[in-house]
């Protein structure tokens, strides 16, 4: 067994990387370490946003990075999201790798113009001469009883925009590797961090992005979906914070003899259509679970991809268990909005009991 340490938290004056092997870490720690390494490995990487310097970000994801790497590499900006994202375009044009942060999902809205009209289009507009290697970190989704605009699910909005890529990790391990991977890509990546999972610990193997790599993640590596749990009767498809909830549901279903596979989509654009085909091709039933509102959500896209690849063998229409078409409710009601275990079980039941008319 490789050496195990329990805390990946960075020390301000330490340049050592933690010992090789599997460690227990929270997603916050894993992301922090990934950013630290990105800064160390890529002299052109710069991190900036509101309060991400001295404070280390309101979620402490950039904790200690300014002290360690200096104020030129990690800096606070004025409080202006369009400014932060517009500035990223110019920095990318000047040869930098910007890793901007918007403090909360809902505050990406004031920057939509820069994200959609500028970041997403500059490579195309410039005929490939001005790539936009920008990794926009967005603390995303709900579940922390936060005020309004602090719990939005913007994945469908971003995924719909030509020129953007979208990814969301669900575990500390994936958070570490996907962030490091995203930050080396030449295209803009929206990195949606499930903020309700920031403090959950899990194993992180910093040396191996795909531990236990088996045939079913072939070609996957970090670029595709991940089978979080194997099963035979039905596939639950989720991303971000919904993955762990689906794993809980799978345990409960197992008590009733239902063997649920859980597919962690990870990339919301591009979506790993092959992984969907593989998993649902095997189980022949699928339920998509997401926090975002139902209508025109990413669940519809997933369902269509499954229909295309598995129509002939599907035993039931693809079901969706999602948030409702309501503005994100306040804390007292968010447990009603976010798919809970019961609603997911009902979704499973609908699929299992489906009978052709």
């Amino acid at each position: 067994m490789p050496e195990t340490i329990t805390d990946l938290r960075l020390k301000d004056n330490s340049t050592e990387t933690a010992a090789v092997g599997v460690q227990q870490a929270s997603m916050q720690q894993a992301l922090n370490r990934a950013l630290d390494e990105i800064l160390a490995e890529n002299p052109k990487a710069v991190i900036f946003g509101e309060d991400c310097g001295r404070l280390g970000g309101v979620f402490r994801i950039t904790d200690g990075l300014q002290a360690k790497h200096g104020e030129a590499r990690v800096f606070d900006t004025p409080l202006a999201e369009s400014g932060i994202l517009g500035m990223s375009v110019g920095l990318a044009m000047a040869g930098f790798h910007p890793i901007p942060e918007v403090q909360f999902d809902g505050f990406a809205y004031p920057a939509i113009n820069q994200i959609v009209c500028q970041i997403a289009r500059m490579n195309y507009r410039s005929r490939g001469t001005l790539p936009m290697p920008i990794t926009l970190r967005v603390p995303s989704f709900g579940g922390i009883r936060a005020p309004e605009h602090h719990g939005e699910s913007l994945e469908a909005l971003f995924a719909h925009v030509p020129g953007l890529k979208v990814v969301s990790p669900s575990t500390p391990h994936d958070a570490y590797h996907l962030l490091k991977y995203a930050a080396t890509r030449p295209d803009p990546v929206i990195f949606m961090e499930p903020k309700s999972r920031y403090w959950q610990k899990g194993p992180v193997d910093v040396t191996n992005p795909t531990p236990g790599t088996a045939a079913h993640v072939d070609g996957g590596g970090l670029t595709g979906a991940r089978v979080a749990r194997e099963g035979r009767h039905l596939t639950l498809i989720a991303w971000g914070a919904m993955v762990s909830r689906c794993l809980q549901v799978a345990e409960l279903a197992a008590e009733d003899g239902i063997d649920v596979e859980v597919l962690d989509l990870r990339w919301l654009k591009p979506i790993d259509a092959e992984a969907l085909a593989r998993s649902v091709g095997k189980t022949r039933r699928a339920v998509v679970v997401h926090e975002a509102p139902l209508t025109s959500g990413l669940g519809a896209e997933v369902a269509q991809l499954i229909t295309q690849s598995c129509f002939a063998t599907l035993k039931a229409p693809v079901e969706r268990v999602t948030g409702f078409d309501v503005p994100y409710p306040s804390g007292d009601l968010e447990d009603e909005h976010i798919p809970n275990i019961n609603r997911i079980l009902f979704g499973i039941q609908r699929v299992l009991e489906y009978r052709r008319g």
Partner: protein
Amino acid sequence: MTPKSVLAAVDDDAAPLTHHQLRELYTLMAAVRHLDTSAVAWQRQGIIPGYAPGLGQEAAQVGSGYAVDRTRDFVFPTYREMGVARAMGLDMVGYMATHKATWHGGMYNPLESRFAPIQAVVAGSVLHAVGWAHGQTLAGNAEGDLGVAMTYFGDGASSQGDVHEAMNFAAVMKAPVVFFIQNNGWAISVPTERQVAGGSVAARAAGYGIPSLQVDGNDVVAVFEATRSAFAHCRAGNGPVVIEAMTYRRGPHSTADDPGRYRTLEEERLDAGEDPLERFKQRLLTDGVADEAFFADAQRLAAEEEEAVRAGIADLGPRPGAEMFSLVFQEPTPALQSQATAWREESEHA
């Protein structure tokens, strides 16, 4: 109108323009005037679908563009900076390609020309200039040797929040940016007094602690000198500068516009003031810098150039459809690749 000297005295060495440079400025303005009026004609003739004319703004554009050092500076234009592009020596067929509807951003290389792709969201690129300029600071170029970003926008664009964010960012970060406003009196149909509170765009700079100056935008030498001192100020590490060039958009906002709905020809004639090109010509004659033979020559060169550009854009065929798919990403997505494949197969069968 004389520019106020609000900048740090960093351009003491700046020599007055030589006769050669003055003549060069005129040659550029004449080329721009000719190309611009021709482009409007091309639109009428159906050679290009649309164009944003710069008639009357030649001094503001050529004077500022002439101050750019293409080895280290970078310009962030909007859709009406043909004169700047020409002054910076861009490939004008590549520039006009955007008006030919060949490619949105133009077909020139932004990195080589130091002229960012044309884009249409007003004020969209003002923040890019700040980011690029901050990059010059981060890159650790010695003060006195900083690359400077110059961003162009109009009085209308100055109402956009992005301009305020950009000025604030630039001032806080001391970024080497020249905010170059061409106040041409109109934002489509809305005159400056219905657009800009506080009397001028330059006045806003005070709120950010940015030195600003208003300059007679119809005087090419004044514009050049103002821009040159702004560049020196930025290059020395003193942070941003705001220049508001007061000029006038003669004629329509674009070839699709009908200015008769919001002003009369008589108003236009009165408000436009002196023609910047004619005014400069008289000055060169009076000062004995150039003679009639020179002006005739400039006119002939401009006509030849227009011929060449027109031939160039006429030759521009449509881009291969595959570019639509291959230039979205550096690393295309599988979905996009399969759309490209389907497009190819289906269009071959059409």
